[in-house]
Amino acid sequence: MSEMWINMGPQHPMTHGLWNLRVRIEGEVILDVDPEMGYLHRGIEKISEDRHYNEVITLMDRTCYVAGLAWEHLYMLAAEEALHIRPPERAQYLRVLCEEFQRIASHLMWYAAFVQDIGLMSPFLYGMRDRDLILDLFQSYTGARMTYEYMRAGGVRNDLPPGFTDRARKVLDWLLPRFHEYDQLCLGSDIFHKRCDGLGKLSAEECIRHGVTGPMLRSAGRKRDLRRDRPYAVYDQLDFEVAVADGADVTGRYLVRMEEMRQSVRILYQVLDWLDRHPGPVMADQLPRWLGAPYAPVGREGYLLKRNYPKGVGFSAIEEPHGEALAYVVNEGGEHPYRVKFRSPVFANLAASRHYLVGYRVADIPPIMGSVDVCVGEVDR
């Protein structure tokens, strides 16, 4: 049979966003793949150079629309290093609270989309239903469900509302047995195993060679987690395990994400206990005037040139729900960052798709690409 190229995307149920997977097939077998990204490119790095340090966070929520708070945390860590600001400890715990809740929400979103890719409809509804509880929690303290704009240079915007920790604990108590239910629905189903076992193999060495990080690397048995290996914020004071599996396949990635959600719940219990016991300020008290939250700077060239704030360079790396995300912020003394650079984990994971797709069948593409957890806003930035 002759070879042919087919386009899966930009509009395809498998892509979960705007990107195109070109596949060269012979019969049912994949010979070559060519991922095409860039349909959602908005130039976020360039726009950031024209915005004040705090205004960039409105872009961060839109960089990855399922893990906005994790990207806000990433940017703020780098920006604060560049601006020589140290947030108070309570603000750091609040950020960890945000990030871990966001990790659960992002993984639930992944779970919902992934099981639908392999043809199971009801788990999709369960995943979305439980994610909504977390979005309710987000709304009760950040003020929005998807675009949070919660973190500021020097801390976070506001403290938790009264009674929040009790409500959050109730949600966590609800979530833990649900993870067991998900396992019953997926791991207990023969259909799931027949569609996922042994697919999309990518060994740890190959993962490292191609820059693949996150649950894909951990599913290959490598214990690599920036929260443990390069602790940022207050992760060195928290007790958790790094989830690994040894399948290096789609089922392994499922197991890693499920275990990560359980570990996030474990972290969140500790964080909520800490927040109950340690009230305090959530904003650093020594801030440059133009970073003080209530104030907006005035745009006028003569005024901009007179500003003289210490220069600096900031770098941060966090374990985002999809993998290792890096940010680099250069502060040249003005009120805008001179340069902002982000490293998106999903971009690297997608770019390596040739190495875990070739040799499988066309019908295997949805489960394999579903297990990568593609977020196109983050790929294209």
Binding site: L133, G143, A144, Q184, Q263, Y295, V298, G299, Y303
Partner: protein, 258 residues
């Protein structure tokens, strides 16, 4: 818990492989008959008091939908009476969707300018209400904005004032001012005493004080200027920077008062 390695199937009856997920799904289905996770939106609303405790999972009550909390960032409410036209909301807007327009009914000689918001552009980030020094621009819990004409997305100040008068729950969060805020400083040799800063100051915190006119030495020409200088009252100043923007000689600047 952490060593998740069980990828191989357990040895069980193959019938169970189908029956077990079906049983889980059937259990969920039976529960959802009595405890729905959704609401019938136009007829039921999240603001209804009966949804207040829907998040109460432990007590066995229905769960699934939350509520619209008071700090939800929806449509803005503007109290025109306390607005001082300082422009800080317009400056802080990342989307440039706020224009300062003349309020209807204000004195044409001294027009009062208040924010007009284009909700076609607004991203509901809340920077404007954070920036407002008087607390007159806040965000409410109103989230229904559908209109049939695109021009209806633009809310003039009067319409924002209507939202304010409808007494919706408002965002209760007020940010504290940082203590080490800079002050407006003057570069005296550049000043020409033109009064522009004092005229445009929204809080009237700038006073023009006389400065002594120096004696001209023989052969020296004194600069042509009005012999007055602005003095800023720091406790009234909201740091909006209007005086810096209007200064024709750029003699005002931000700095730390010694």
């Amino acid at each position: 818990m952490s060593d998740v390695t069980a990828t191989e199937k357990p040895d069980e009856n193959p019938i169970l492989w189908v029956a077990r997920p079906m049983a889980t799904a059937a259990r969920q289905f039976a529960k959802s008959l009595f405890r729905p996770s959704t609401i019938v939106y136009p007829y039921e609303r999240l603001e209804d008091p009966k949804f207040r405790d829907r998040l109460d999972v432990a007590s066995g009550k229905p769960f699934g939908v939350g509520q619209v909390w008071d700090n939800y960032r929806g449509v803005h409410a503007l109290n025109i009476a306390t607005c001082i036209s300082c422009n800080l909301c317009a400056f802080s807007c990342p989307d440039v969707c706020i224009d300062m327009v003349t309020t209807a009914g204000s004195d044409p000689k001294h027009p009062k300018k208040c924010p007009q918001i284009d909700y076609g552009k607004c991203s509901y980030c809340g920077f404007c209400s954070d920036a407002c020094p008087e607390g007159c621009l806040t965000m409410t819990t109103r989230y229904e904005l559908s209109v049939s004409k695109r021009s209806d997305m633009i809310y003039p100040p009067e319409r924002l004032f209507e939202v304010f008068r409808s007494k919706l729950p408002m965002n209760p969060i007020r940010l504290a001012r940082p203590e080490n805020e800079d002050a407006i400083l003057l570069d005296p040799p550049l000043c020409i005493g033109c009064n522009a800063c004092a005229r445009d100051c929204p809080t009237q915190c700038i006073t023009m004080l006389d400065v002594p006119k120096p004696e001209a030495k023989p052969g020296e020409k004194l600069p042509k200027r009005i012999w007055k200088e602005p003095v800023v009252n720091d406790s009234d100043c909201v740091r909006c920077g209007t005086c810096i923007s209007v200064c024709p000689k750029e003699c005002l600047f931000w700095g730390t008062r010694k």
